[in-house]
């Protein structure tokens, strides 16, 4: 059984159909890309999976559990993590505290009051910062980081919860080609323990890291398959050559 099963998900905003019955399956430890022209419903689908908004129709199950109506904290506790499209680090907290805040969310309220887990999470926090090249900036305020570094910090925060599925909404937006390449290299090792659903406009980037792609158009699945299959798909070529 797939880790994530999206079945017949539909969503309408004030009469505008953003999703019209979408099916997507994501296997454990796989990287799955959502691509499509602007307005095709990629981000809406990602947000429905994350719990930003609930679908009007259809079901979303994660790890065999129906999460269609679960609020975001419950989804996060089930092992689902999200990186927003617009960087959402906490700018007035230190880089270290941003990651600590993400990693300590598994603790009980009483444990947090007694600051019980801070020592235990220190190595984990520093590991995450080292992995994303931010260890030297641990004391700096997150708001002082460059845009690219803020994106990495947010991915580090999303990963410290040890999620089973990470949702990334345009993680390389606003990044330089160098930073984009580095982001791809930073993401590859997580495949050992985490699946990824990624929305991205940079097709070269997404082809480099993803195992499977789902192409959306006008709120519906246009095609679904491996990267090679999608590259060879006449339907996809038509959309991308005529409308993108």
């Amino acid at each position: 059984m797939a880790l994530l099963e999206v079945r017949g998900v539909a969503k309408t905003f004030r009469g505008l159909k953003a999703l019209g019955g979408v099916d997507v399956s994501v296997e454990a430890n796989s990287f799955h890309g959502l691509i499509g022209p602007n307005g095709s419903g990629k981000s809406t689908l990602l947000k429905a999976i994350a719990g930003v908004h609930y679908p009007d129709e259809g079901t979303i199950s994660f790890g065999g559990q129906d999460i269609t109506r679960e609020p975001p904290p419950m989804r996060a506790r089930a092992g689902l993590s999200l990186k927003f499209q617009i960087t959402a680090v906490l700018p007035q907290l230190s880089v270290y505290d941003n990651v600590l805040l993400a990693s300590q969310s598994r603790g009980s309220i009483w444990g947090l009051l007694r600051s019980r887990s801070r020592g235990e999470l220190h190595d984990e926090t520093m590991d995450a910062l080292e992995r994303f090249g931010l260890a030297d900036r641990a004391d700096d305020l997150a708001g002082e980081l460059s845009h690219g570094q803020q994106q990495w910090l947010e991915i580090a925060m999303a990963l410290t919860n040890k999620p089973r599925l990470l949702l990334l909404d345009e993680p390389t937006g606003g990044m330089s080609p160098e930073e984009r390449r580095a982001t791809g290299e930073l993401l590859m090792p997580i495949k050992a323990h985490c699946a990824l659903v990624i929305v991205e406009h940079d097709l070269d980037f997404i082809k480099d890291i993803c195992d499977r792609l789902t192409v959306l158009d006008n709120g519906r699945v246009l095609d679904d398959g491996t990267v090679a299959e999608i590259e060879a798909s006449p339907k996809v070529q038509e959309v991308y050559t005529t409308r993108v």
Binding site: A50, P73, A76, Q92, Q104, I109, L112, G119, A135
Partner: protein
């Protein structure tokens, strides 16, 4: 930062201010008249109330315009215990006052914060304001609690059986509870729980996606703040020998907001300085004959200038933003890889 280091501690000025303030507060009864000591005692009580507001707005982003409600309800319970049950022992009155503030805040917090939808800042501000106003009107018309005349407490309070009158010893008794309220609040806001509050204040939505049930954290800190306000209310009722409808109304609630904003929200010291500055100015200005009709206007103007010029309040003038935010989990010992506990 090296792996075996905790983040830099940049707290430099706050500990100095804390020690200087404590020394100053301990010295007050020795350098003031009895009357001034009683005024200073009242300021300490109001400082506890102001800290309770700061915990809500300054640390947690809960805009409460009704903090006097918990102060007043606890004050009334203290007065009822004294007048109807003959209980004047402060070691019983204080836990009862704190429990009253806690329960009242839990009820209001449950209604305003734990609904299905995430409440907006305006909804909470108006909800708390309405609760404070409604409570004030309710007791103002309720004969059993003295209606608009309020309730006087005719007996002096006792501590461990010994009578205590407003003056030097009552001052130190209140100071002890201000210190305890301060330390208890500091323990919370500087803990990992405090880190959640700091994150919540900046981006509530983000925290929900980490798995935090943000509204539960809000309700808990709101209830704790209510308990602190209740402590202040119980002390106030016995110190003043009186509690009236105005002690739970929007006037005092607004003062709690002003104390915090004037002194500097987001620091526990700010509200104490806010109370000291505003109450001292009010005391001096109201005593100048030529200014008697105008002093509230002058005071309001000064407060407006400070709040507009320095939104972080008086303490923001000397504290850096970094020090104001501080660090979290102080006192926690970190484990180094392959070893025991490191330095805190």
């Amino acid at each position: 930062m090296a792996r075996d280091e905790t983040p830099r501690r940049q707290l430099r000025i706050i500990p100095i201010i804390e020690i200087a303030l404590l020394a100053g507060l301990v010295a007050v009864p020795h350098v003031t008249s009895d009357f001034q000591t009683i005024i200073a005692s009242r300021m300490l009580i109001l400082a506890i109330l102001a800290i309770s507001f700061d915990l809500c707005w300054g640390y947690s982003g809960i805009m409460t315009f009704g903090q006097a409600l918990y102060f007043g309800v606890a004050g009334y319970v203290a007065a009822l215990l004294a007048n109807k049950a003959g209980v004047v022992e402060l070691l019983l009155i204080i836990p009862a006052s704190m429990a009253t503030g806690l329960i009242a805040a839990l009820l209001v917090g449950w209604f305003l914060l734990l609904g299905k939808r995430t409440p907006t800042v305006i909804f909470v501000a108006l909800g708390t304001l309405t609760a404070s106003y409604a409570a004030e009107r309710l007791v103002a018309g309720w004969q059993w609690v003295g209606a608009a005349n309020g309730m006087s407490i005719w007996e002096f309070a006792k501590v461990a059986g010994l009578e205590i009158e407003p003056g030097v010893w009552f001052y130190y008794f209140i100071l002890l509870f201000l210190i305890l309220a301060y330390l208890g609040s500091r323990w919370i806001v500087r803990s990992q729980f405090g880190l959640v509050l700091a994150g919540m204040r900046q981006n509530e939505e983000r925290l929900a996606y980490f798995g935090y049930r943000v509204q539960v954290f809000k309700a808990l800190i709101f209830a704790f703040a209510g308990m602190i306000a209740g402590l202040a209310g119980g002390l106030y009722a016995f110190h003043e020998g009186f509690i009236g409808p105005a002690s739970m109304g929007i006037g005092l609630s607004t003062y709690a907001v002003l104390y915090g904003l004037f002194g500097g929200i987001g620091t526990l010291l700010g509200p104490i300085f806010g109370v000291a500055a505003i109450e001292t100015m009010a005391f001096i200005l109201s005593d100048i004959n030529a200014l008697k009709p105008y002093w509230p206007v002058i005071l309001g103007f000064i407060m407006l200038i400070v709040v507009v010029w320095r939104p972080t309040g008086l303490l923001g003038v000397i504290l850096s933003e970094r020090e104001r935010i501080g660090s979290f989990g102080i006192g926690a010992r970190k484990k180094r890889k392959g070893g025991g506990d490191g330095a805190p």
